[in-house]
């Protein structure tokens, strides 16, 4: 399996504050890579740099290279808009558009690239909702507001909305932290299925979750990458003392 996405010496600054220091991570195609670490360690910051979300924060600056299929997404003439279509993102709190119906939420991103005809849209909505196992629950009320769904359903809707754009990489920023255990289990199952088609990166503070869903794990501490390896290796036989302390719960 090839490397889909590669972080080379990535630094993220907020003003003069260096939040992420020289991070190198390889994201393998069709694998799930988890980024773990205590809160404030910069794991979300790393994730958000991968689809240029920091562009929205004026004081933020990213240096180093982030290669998507060997092309640097921070290259001068790289277009953040088309990069974000190839690299989708799911956020910590479900954020469906409240003024849109379930149907319109799913198709929102797809519609940005020109008019989709009715039949095409229907197929995409159905396909995406089936992919996230939400279709059966909502097929009778597609025109209802997305705000009527439960939190777990909203989050799956947001994932459906992300995959409707047909990205290559999906970033997930603690996607289950606002959900109950049953909803969490469903999302985890979904992540496992998604990797057949997509490259997935997930940030989580829950180590069991990282162990359950990921193939590779990166451990970050105070903005630095401490260790990156196969998940099995990290959780059974880590190289670094620091990593071991963290996963065995001795700190953080």
């Amino acid at each position: 399996m090839g490397i889909k996405l590669k972080l080379e010496g990535v630094n993220v600054f907020f003003g003069n504050n260096r939040a992420v220091k020289d991070v190198n991570i390889d994201f393998h195609a069709n694998m799930v890579t988890a980024i773990i670490g205590p809160s404030g360690c910069g794991k979300s910051t790393v994730l958000r740099s991968i689809n240029r979300m920091h562009d929205m924060v004026p004081s933020a600056r990213v240096t180093g290279k982030i290669l998507l299929d060997q092309t640097d997404i921070y290259e001068k003439n790289a277009d953040p808009v088309s990069i974000r279509r190839r690299i989708g993102m799911v956020f910590q709190k479900p954020n469906p558009f409240p003024a849109m119906s379930i149907y319109d939420n799913v198709i929102a991103g797809y519609k940005l690239n020109g008019r989709a005809n009715r039949q095409e849209s229907d197929e995409i909505v159905e396909g995406s909702l089936k992919r996230v196992a939400l279709w059966d629950e909502v097929k009778d009320r597609l025109k209802k507001s997305a705000m009527e769904l439960s939190g777990g359903q909203q989050q799956r809707l947001c994932i459906a909305r992300t995959i409707a754009v047909r990205p290559e990489v999906i970033l997930m920023d603690e996607p289950c932290s606002a959900l109950d255990p049953i909803a969490t289990a469903k999302i985890e199952e979904l992540i496992n299925e998604l990797k057949e088609q997509y490259t997935v990166a997930i940030v989580t503070h829950n180590m069991q979750q990282a162990a359950r869903v990921s193939d590779y794990t990166a451990f970050l501490y105070l903005g630095e990458l401490i260790e990156f390896d196969r998940t099995g290796k990290i959780f059974t036989n880590p190289e670094k003392k620091h990593t071991e302390d963290y996963i065995t719960g001795r700190f953080g």
């Binding site: 277009d79 808009v81 088309s82 940005l112 690239n113 020109g114």
Partner: protein, 277 residues
Amino acid sequence: MKQVNIRSAKNLVMTFLMFSATVAVLIPLAIIFIHIAKMGFSSISLDFFTSIPKPTGETGGGMANGIVGSGVLIAMASAIGLPIGIFGAIYLVEYGGGKLSSIIRFAADVLNGIPSIITGMVAYTLIVVPMKGFSALAGAVALALIMIPIVLRTAEEQLKMVPNSLREASLALGVPLWRTTFRVTLRSALKGVATGVLLAIARIAGETAPLLFTALGNMFWSKKLTEPIAAMPLQIFNFAISPYEDWHRLAWAGALVLVMFMFTISLATRYFSRQRN
């Protein structure tokens, strides 16, 4: 790729439109300021502050009676309006929470939205008619009615921000609530409440409509509060719609003074609120 180009072109066009809207909003602002400054500074003199308007045909004259009149009206309106506004706010913060306080808050907001000319009409029926004459008192009542909701709502906001631990500390010492309110709560919210009072004063200092049939205006000095009294906004109005060049100049000078007064207050409130945060 072509789609993306169309989309980013659209993005540029819309960004430009938003920018243009902003410019279109700022242009009249600039034009009005330039006129007030140009006409005002060329018309203003020491006379403006020391003499009363000259009869038509004579040059010179000033708005001394209007300036003093406005001061008197503001002082009287504050004397009526501030206690109601501030005590009302104390009620809302210290005893409120029930249905009654929601109703009072709502009433204050509604009062705030009533056109000031209607406030003037009501002051007319309540004061001018029974007292059989236009008077400074009637003008002050009209202005006070405008002031009350502003003071109430800003004072309430400010009193609410006083941390509860302060009140508790005082109450725990056995200080009664009323004394705690004056000594501790009001005192620590003093700057904020003062900001609200200043804002209310800035608002009523420029009000003209409610004075038209209450204070009425006066070309001379008033001797009693039961007589019609001059006020700057009224004079600006009357001079502006008059056909005389000299009076127009007085109106511009008056506008400059009034605008300077507003801006000073606006800056002061900004300074206060920045200090607090």
